[in-house]
């Protein structure tokens, strides 16, 4: 027996407002209680730190919408950084980054092929890939960080400015806009929602469901590559342990954004809001001089609240119905 959640448009609208309200609330709380939070420099810093996570989370969102999951992002960016740094002296900065990005996209392609066409579970494929890629990155770099030859070109992606705005922020903006356009206005995006909601039904409706899943992983590879390139440029070196928890961080972002892991739902706006919440809170923790332990506990609390509160309101609604029913 299936219980259907009959969602009325009004409830949907309510939750849509909630999505934007929470980051605003966090913002005002930070402004009120965190010293030095409200300054142009600091806000720019919040956005710049958040941009990398945001770009990667965009990729994760696409995958979650088609009903998959990707744990391999952390190692993909590591491999990208190592490859880029190794290639840089021989091919030049631009080509080296292109090579690195190709590697990350290739990882997405591999994931997608294994999951969509060999029908292996996404969960295990990407977990396995997390180890395999980390092993590869470590092998290539000998397990140690490789420093890139310092050049302004190499550092531009991470710390350059265009018209006074840091490059990562501009790229994150572009990433979000393209994700939004992709999801809302294209055939591919629409197909992702359909495939993620019910894979069998999508096949029966004549959609190229497998190709769409593959595409989601490739697009995620692209987003992940962009995030990795910025990260590599920021640290100026190739590291096998560049951002090992990236995938988990993006899943945390999606959880906070209210994007469920069972597919079919999610939007670019939600991802932005989720990332902003995390970025602001992390910044606040640093400004308040708290240790990373507090940062982690706060993060756990926020994720917990984000996933539990909607459930609690469901419970409350059920209770209200029960009471009304009894009164009649």
């Amino acid at each position: 027996m299936t219980t259907l959640i009959k969602q009325h448009p009004a409830i949907a609208l309510g939750s849509r407002i909630g999505v934007i309200a929470v980051p605003l609330l966090v913002f005002f709380l930070c402004v009120l209680f965190v010293p030095r939070f409200l300054s142009v420099d600091n806000l720019q810093n919040v956005l710049r730190v958040g941009s990398i996570l945001l770009i990667a989370a965009c990729g994760q969102t696409g995958i979650l919408i088609v009903g998959g999951i990707d744990f391999s992002m952390g190692s993909a960016v590591a491999l990208l950084s190592v490859v880029t740094v190794i290639l840089a002296p021989e091919l030049g900065v631009a080509l080296a980054f292109t090579g690195g990005i190709c590697v990350a996209v290739l990882v997405g392609l591999c994931n997608g092929l294994l999951i969509a066409y060999l029908k292996l579970p996404a969960f295990l494929v990407t977990l396995g890939m997390l180890l395999v890629l980390h092993g590869l990155a470590s092998l290539l770099s000998g397990g140690m960080p490789l420093d890139a030859a310092p050049s302004p070109g190499f550092l531009w992606l991470g710390s350059g400015h265009v018209a006074g705005i840091p490059v990562p922020i501009i790229l994150a903006l572009l990433a979000v806009l393209s994700l939004h356009g992709l999801l809302r206005y294209t055939l591919v995006g629409r197909s992702w929602y359909l495939v993620g909601t019910n894979f069998n039904a999508a096949l029966n409706a004549g959609l190229p469901a497998r190709r769409m899943v593959l595409l989601a992983y490739i697009v995620a590879g692209l987003f992940c590559a962009l995030a990795g390139a910025i990260l590599t440029s920021r640290v100026g070196s190739g590291q096998p342990n560049l951002y090992p928890d990236l995938a988990f961080a993006t899943i945390a972002v999606c959880a906070i954004s209210g994007i469920p892991l069972n597919g079919g739902r999610g939007s670019a706006v939600q991802v932005v809001c989720g990332t902003l919440i995390i970025a602001m809170l992390n910044n606040a923790v640093v400004l308040l001089n708290l240790t990373s332990a507090w940062q982690q506990l706060l993060m756990a609390l926020v994720i917990g609240a984000a996933v539990v509160l909607p459930q609690l309101s469901n419970v409350r609604r059920r209770c209200v119905h029960l009471l009304r029913g009894n009164a009649q």
């Binding site: 027996m1 299936t2 259907l4 959640i5 009959k6 969602q7 009325h8 448009p9 206005y185 294209t186 055939l187 591919v188 629409r190 197909s191 929602y193 359909l194 909601t197 019910n198 069998n200 039904a201 999508a202 096949l203 029966n204 409706a205 004549g206 959609l207 190229p208 079919g264 739902r265 119905h321 029960l322 009304r324 029913g325 009894n326 009649q328």
Partner: protein, 496 residues
């Protein structure tokens, strides 16, 4: 006769809708009591309340003269109220014996107790009671659909109980198995068990039930009428609230061959079968559950692949490999399990309806969202879609209207030539059933070939020009429609 189980004044609301209003039911020892009603009449809500799966907003249950409150299925089980569910609740990766013991395990007092499976002797007796001949150690995975349904029933029947509640027990059974079940129920009646029997099948009810209760829109319209006091026509009338007139057979002219299937094998060892469908023809494929009729329908629609053989469209001589190529070639498809294989619950009705024609309103992969709803405006009115709008979640619609959404999806296909419909009206109320049948007839008149796969002979007889009977994954017979029902039945049962 002694009253065993009594429910009085039961009401249940879901949000603003009232699923059940002031329902009453009296079950007596040794009596089979039929509960009838359209889909959405409140039957399943009522049943769930009786077995403790949900709690009523108001009303009281009395068991053996004692008022009871069931907090969960477990409570009800302990008191001797045993359910047999319509949807399979078997554990496919456990053995037959373990499944038979499920209720005992489920209602065990403490989870640290030694697990108390039935002993093999008892289990064998229970199986033979319902006429199921399988090994106790085989996995449920290996049983056929009919065997599973029997096992499901055996599980309930085998348990010592005072009240047995059967929800649509014969839905997936052939005639012979249904008979066997009825015999088993008689045995239980003789042991003074009270039985609540929920079914759509009026024949079953007229043959077995001692009393009939009918629900409509959450209201009890007939309360415990004795079997002989109510005629089949009256039952239908009470269920619908309006008289039901069977429509005349579809009149459409038969044109050229549209779809041709050659040498399809449904299993590697089955005889190959071939068939062709003409323009404007309605071909009915009938077979009991597990006979391969549904499988054949899936193969024809490209949703599954057979073992060898080809399905091709005559006009373009395109060969159908998968659903995608079938759709491009103009084969529409309405799957049998609309929740699992058809609908996108959680997405809007519009997105559901337009899923197959995304390319129709997109250029270079970009959707022209304004044009999306266009083709559906006229169709919504034609189909009586209720609520008549497409911006709600698909989950918000009732079963019949969800089925209509699936038809809408296929009707807007630009080059629709063949429509394969599996179980078009399973779990659909009579009103929606009529509008779906009408739509199918209208399509046939437009020259579209229609393949209806159904286990409902009545439906196939009123809709189709030709019948193809499938048994044991092979063709058991072909005939024109309105052939003798008995002949068809014996073919369906044929090689079983």
């Amino acid at each position: 006769m002694k009253t065993i189980f009594q429910a009085s004044g039961i009401s249940k609301h879901y949000g603003t809708t009232c699923a059940l209003r002031d329902a009453n039911l009296v079950l007596k020892a040794g009596q089979i009591h039929a509960l009838m009603g359209e889909n959405g009449a409140g039957k399943s809500t009522f049943v769930k309340i009786l077995v403790g799966a949900i709690r009523p907003d108001s009303g009281a249950l009395v068991l053996d003269g004692q008022p009871v409150v069931f907090g969960s299925v477990r409570d009800a089980l302990k008191q001797g109220v045993v359910p047999v569910y319509q949807h399979s609740t078997l554990f496919t990766r456990l053995t037959v014996l373990e499944n038979l013991s499920a209720f005992g395990l489920g209602s065990a007092q403490r989870s640290w107790a030694r697990n108390n499976c039935l002993d093999r002797q008892q289990a064998t007796e229970v199986l033979s009671l319902v006429g199921l001949d399988v090994s106790l150690d085989s996995l449920v995975d290996e049983l056929s659909l009919g065997e599973r349904q029997l096992l499901e029933i055996a599980r309930g029947v085998g348990r010592r109980c005072s009240v047995l509640i059967l929800d649509e027990p014969t839905a997936a059974l052939g005639a012979r198995e249904a008979n066997r079940l009825h015999q088993a129920l008689q045995v239980l009646c003789a042991k003074r068990t009270a039985i609540l029997y929920i079914s759509h099948k009026i024949d079953d009810i007229k043959r077995m039930a001692d009393a009939v209760t009918i629900l409509r829109d959450g209201l009890t319209v007939v309360n415990a009428a004795a079997r002989d006091d109510i005629s089949a026509a009256q039952i239908v009338q009470h269920m619908l609230g309006q008289t039901f007139e069977p429509q005349a057979l579809c009149v459409s002219t038969r044109g050229e061959v549209v779809l041709e299937a050659r040498d399809i094998r449904l299993t590697p060892t089955a005889q190959p079968l071939s068939l062709c469908v003409h323009q404007g023809e309605v071909l009915g494929i009938v077979g009991v559950a597990g006979s391969g009729a549904l499988r054949l329908g899936e193969v024809l629609a490209g949703a599954a692949s057979g073992h060898g053989g080809t399905v091709s469209l005559n006009a373009t001589s395109e060969v159908v490999n998968d659903r995608q190529s079938a759709m491009r070639a103009g084969i529409g498809y309405v799957p049998s399990d609309r929740h699992a294989d058809g609908l996108f619950l959680g997405l809007s009705a519009l997105q559901n309806a337009s899923a197959s024609v995304l390319r129709g309103f997109s250029s270079w992969g970009v959707l022209r969202l304004r044009e999306e709803a266009g083709p559906f405006d006229a169709l919504i009115a034609q189909f009586n879609l209720n609520p008549p709008r497409l911006d709600l979640d698909a989950a918000y619609y009732s079963g019949g209207n969800q089925q209509k959404l699936l038809f809408l999806r296929n009707l807007v296909l630009p080059n629709l030539q063949v429509l394969v419909v599996l179980e078009p009206t399973r779990g659909v109320d009579v009103g929606a059933r009529e509008s779906i049948h009408q739509a199918l007839r209208a399509l046939a008149c437009r020259g579209i070939a229609i393949i209806v796969v159904s286990s409902d002979l009545l439906e196939v007889n009123t809709l189709c020009h030709q019948l193809l009977v499938v048994a044991s994954h092979q063709v058991a017979g072909r005939m024109m429609a309105d052939a003798q029902t008995d002949a068809v039945l014996s073919m369906m049962a044929g090689a079983c």
